[in-house]
Symmetry: C2
Subunit: 352 residues, 2 copies
Amino acid sequence: MEKRATIKDVAAAAGVGVATVSRVLSGGSASPHTRERVLAVAAQLDYRPSALGRNLRQRRTGGMGLLVPDLTDTFYGQLAEGVLACARSAGEPVVLGSTGDDPEQESELIGMLLEQSVDRVIAVPTGDSDTWTPAIRAGMTVVFADRLPAQAVQENRGTVAVDDLMLLDGLSPTQQTRPLDVPAVVADDRAGIRTAVRYLRGLGHKRIAFLGGPGHDRRVAAFREAVGSPVDEELVVSGTGSRDSAYAAASGLFQSRPDLSAVVAGGNVLGEAAVLAARELDLRVPRDVSLVMYDDVPWAELCSPPLTVIAQPGRDMGYRAAELVLRAGSRKPRSVILPTELIIRGSCGPHR
Amino acid sequence: MEKRATIKDVAAAAGVGVATVSRVLSGGSASPHTRERVLAVAAQLDYRPSALGRNLRQRRTGGMGLLVPDLTDTFYGQLAEGVLACARSAGEPVVLGSTGDDPEQESELIGMLLEQSVDRVIAVPTGDSDTWTPAIRAGMTVVFADRLPAQAVQENRGTVAVDDLMLLDGLSPTQQTRPLDVPAVVADDRAGIRTAVRYLRGLGHKRIAFLGGPGHDRRVAAFREAVGSPVDEELVVSGTGSRDSAYAAASGLFQSRPDLSAVVAGGNVLGEAAVLAARELDLRVPRDVSLVMYDDVPWAELCSPPLTVIAQPGRDMGYRAAELVLRAGSRKPRSVILPTELIIRGSCGPHR
DNA sequence: TTGAAAGCGCTAACAG
DNA sequence: CTGTTAGCGCTTTCAA
């Protein structure tokens, strides 16, 4: 940067000590006269306190890190906008990283944040809890959004636990030693999926498939639960996150099981793939196959027929997560579960 | 953050001075023996140099800022992914801001970046060149992406000039005193729009409308040029950036000018609005109205009919911009113009 | 080749 | 209420 006025310049110009300037600018006590004077000089010099000095002094960078799998996925775009909105109103910077749903990249990004001393992070986790334990141990305040890290292999060291969320999923907390207690902001996947499956059932569908992607474990679990056993395992397939892989999964599913009559796509990328694959195979929606997609994205309405979706509040999710990570330290944050809503449009029809 | 090993710890443990450690870690000269020893100790202590100390010392934060209008717009998601990819390979952090296409928010974000001493910024500008001049004067290296700031009212102070791009648009550089010379990475809007208009003309369309949004000045200009005078001004309308406003603009256009037979949407949000508005008004695409949309986004193919688009390489644009901003300083970066491509799908038909 | 020392701009004790 | 001072972790002269 070019030469900018420092706190010293202001102090000198105002004829006071640097500490006084610092106090005035951070709302500390000062005589009205001094305060006014300092403020005037600061304004006149166009002084802007350098975050560099402050950060070093406080051994921490302000703001927060944000790790998402892919900004090309509209849902994460919404989530990011929520985080940014909250950060902006708090005047805090956001350091962004895109993991590509790759645990290795995620680790590298965590390392980068550590190096930057960004000690507050909102993450859509990709790796398992072992990826996160070290960072949390190192003092990072993290809030998970949209999903939770897969449970790592149990060890007798503590694991990342996400309190009541596990119960929500009907998973038992297993034997955890000193859980790390990471708060999370997620949608009520279980209810969302259950509602969708019931809806399809109500339409007469028996063979319902689930098309999942990375991080959809909770949704898959909810799906299994909703359809009840025995689960036809061939009807539960997953892509790896890329659009190509999602397409391949969808296409493979339709071809291997022409008897299925409905599909629940675990995310908008998978929904997109399902629509494309169905069209390619000349399957009509909803005549030949009904489709429910997780995520309400603007283009869901553009499809013909418009897609019936399980909407989750992406922006809110980001905003709430940012709030949590900022408030952490004062009160201990509790996880948040946001409601989903089945929005019925035109992509589901009665089973024929 | 928790207590992490500092350079001092490493120095002590290795029995050398801190300067030596610093040198070794930044690839300076050191005896093989010393180097090996330091490296070993550093690894053993899991030492990670703190960016805080370095930044303060160098009076600049590494990495780069990224300012986009809206991450919910898939195109900017692609752009951001490109920037992140380049930054990642350079190991640099990215500080993100979303301007909402609001010059005021943009200014605030610039201020935030200045405060953070982020001196390299990639921006999809919203404000005019006066918004940017101060930042650039303050020593910020900026690279514009996707669009250029509107020319501010001429003064005899220098203005932000974007060298050859203005010529590309057929604008004369007017009388500029010491242009600030900000490099930019943009798509060849002029060619893209021209190709689209010619294509529609070839289909027999005479009344072609342009549906623009914020920052589409160059596209509007290209459109005017392509249709040739006299331009029917009622056929050139703009939204303000929100989806609602885009919808209103599209709907208003269709209603006020039922005689139009083709629309060029200046961006994917406007294309979305056009599809929605057309459907609402019972206009069939492409029977009643042909549509070409700027931006190729995954869902363009999902529409029925699939949308004919002017594709621009969003990801490349981000990547190139990041490269430019990182290389700036060594060689003086030149602007880059990326090619567009008309991808013909199904949303245009012959004029009836 | 190496080490000692001087800060970068700021905040937080600690005196006055 | 205010000023002085001591660093935060690092890079970078400057000597040795």
